[in-house]
Symmetry: C2
């Protein structure tokens, strides 16, 4: 079963990569951007009987390795649309 994890910096933590990309887009003429944040996406295919079991398993992986709980939030999408 496939799951998708979106990992983003918590609100309040300066997103330097996002700021740099936003500035680069502004230099290209996209001056109407209100907000831009850059994060990571991890797509995992796990063996699990259903989406609930897969989500629980992926959540465990996030807590143990994928996300940094101090600086990052994560959301899990499973099943994928």
């Amino acid at each position: 079963m496939k799951a998708r994890v979106l990992i983003r910096l918590k609100r309040g933590i300066l997103d330097v990569q996002g700021s740099a990309v936003k500035r680069a887009l502004e230099n290209l003429g996209y001056t109407d951007l209100k907000d831009l944040r850059v994060g990571k996406v991890v797509e995992i295919e796990v063996e699990a009987p259903d989406s609930r079991a897969a989500t629980a398993r992926v959540e465990e992986m996030c807590q143990k390795l994928l996300a940094n709980p101090i600086t990052e939030d994560f959301t899990i999408e499973c099943p994928l649309p």
Copy 2:
């Protein structure tokens, strides 16, 4: 209007970061992972009258700056669920 861009390496291009994360998870006991890919997510808030206009605008940004057309594919989600 908010849009989300998912940027992933094309199939066939070695995902070194994904392989490293997969190996790390295997070392933690998650030995049943079939596939794991790491990519980027960019969340942008643009000024646009509707989701179609926003998508077109964000697609232009992807082609000009956000994604590398040689090595990366991107998908745009707008409006966000």
